[in-house]
Amino acid sequence: MEIREIRNSLKEIDKNTWESKKAGNVPIKIYANKNILKNMEGEVFNQAANAASLPGILKYSYLFSDAHIGYGVPVGWAGAFDMEEGIISPGAIGFDINCGMRLIKTNLTLKEVKPKIKELVDILFKMVPAGVGSNSSQSLPNLKNLGKPSLKEIAEEGIDWALRNSYATKKDKERTEEKGSIKSADFSKVSEDAFKRGKQQLGTLGSGNHYLEIQVINKDFNREIANALDLDIIKEQVVVMFHTGSRGFGHQIASDYIKKFLDYSSRQDITLKDKQLAYAPFNSKEGQDYFKAMSCGINFAFVNRQIITYQIREAFKKIFKRNENDLGLDVVYDVSHNTAKLEEYDIENKKTKVIVHRKGATRSFGPGNKELTGVLKQIGQPVIVGGSMETGSYLCIGTKKAEEDSFGTTLHGSGRTMSRVAARSAINPDKLLESMKTKGIYVKANSLTGLTEEGGSAYKDINEVVNSMDEAGISRKVLSLKPIGNIKG
């Protein structure tokens, strides 16, 4: 199906919810307001149509308001596959397996943090290695050159490893998607190269769009839910948000299995619309091997974010000379972006397990979901939406409607409008730094070029993108958050 044909076939079936004609095995469903839809790159539709042609895809090929061109499928995409007839594809998950966001609350106010922001950002920059070649030995000697037995435990146990080694609390585990541990992980399916790339990278941020931010609550949209999460605008409460994933470990797993799946496609005479979308049936040996290796990547990323959390707590203790309880550095939630997971949904009045691929998309479970515990069972799952470093971010909450309409999935960020190469020439680094200074944001970055690639004008308007999903009822706004300090790789 041509891009124009897909565009012309779109009908608004509900508020900010668009459905195309069948574009392969299923239609494309897009969540966006008219303006975002109008400006969505044509290639996004082509990539979503390629995904719609994959075997065993159920209901729709989904695009969210933050969607932009990816490789294989767009970023801001999701698709659920039948366990018997369906497939698993690394290109529909992304290289950075379980790239995700974590939000940590503090008991500190803007008034307390602002005078120390430079000191705080500088120490975090030292304690959480960022940028090209960042590795654990720079900040955590205990994690220097992890041996294979330790990495196996990390990859198979996830946060449970961190809990045993005093890097995590029980509440951290409780507030992490999948409780921070995917049981399908099997380290024997991970290559030697992945081990070698990953063993030095725990507790590191990486580069690209990975960042760590000190933020203050800017506006509330649902005070009841915010308060249930111990967040309060009246106090001008300060929070910490960061974005990172499984680093070289996850990338190597994806690279290894894309090659294996290409071999599989060639053996089975499968014609691929895009080689990056190479796949294997979920129930095949190849599909299961990748699922188990990818699950190791998911666990590695959970531990990576947990180690960074540990370092953040240490940094705050040093700067504010207060104990951990007093500082109140509790995890609000930790969400995954690039994953494929087994989840259960009602399909034609039958409880059915499906393999949900999310690439640059967030799980969005509503109140009462059996995966949620504690207060989250009443309010739903927090959805952390990272914006650009200039424009701020959002905390949203999952909905029942998402579970019914989009296999429990919503957006993950602002979504880019400009390529990195274009941003390098369009955004002046000095002006960007000046603008951030004027907005009261202290930035520490390894690379000025990397910083310009992440400038606010390279992204869609976060407010419009988040509002689109809120109005569609797929995730609801709780708080907007404004940066006051930023670390970029």
């Binding site: 790159e41 932009h68 061109i69 990816g70 490789y71 294989g72 970023v75 290109g91 290289f95 950075d96 940028g131 090209v132 070649g133 590795n135 190269d193 070698k196 790339r197 030095q200 990278q201 990486g206 580069s207 690209g208 769009n209 680093r247 070289g248 990338h251 190597q252 994806a254 690279s255 894309i258 090659k259 290409l262 895009d274 080689k275 990056q276 190479a278 880019r416 409008t417 400009m418 390529s419 990195r420 190469v421 274009a422 020439s425 390894n446 690379s447 070029t449 990397g450 690639e453 790789g489």
Partner: protein, 140 residues
Amino acid sequence: MERYKLLKNEATADIALIAYGKNLNELFRNITIAVSNIMVLNSEMTGNKKINFSIHSKSLDLLVIDFINKIVFYKDYKNILITDSKIQIDEKLNLRCQATGEDLADLKDKFLVDVKAATLHDLDIKKEKGLIKCKVVLDV
């Protein structure tokens, strides 16, 4: 002849490039230089680290991917950025590389962006007017 060019209007979240070469050996050398220049400012390189490796792939497409992924692997595992290379590729797609590089620790102030993988998306290798052109999208 330019060694490579970065493409402004493609790969929104990543980096797309076209590398050129009069033959495969030159093409792969220019890919090395492109990948290195994407990651660091290319001034003041000493090339004081030597790495030799060989790879074999079933197709030319995969040889490009495997070669770039090897550069990425040495960066993450050995903390060495390969900045230049002497390449020999035979008819059976066996590639021998004698590379020079830099310790990442010595490049601290020159980093631009991290290349994490080569993708097959839109990968295109063609010969035009005696010149081999290779378009590849890098995950950054």
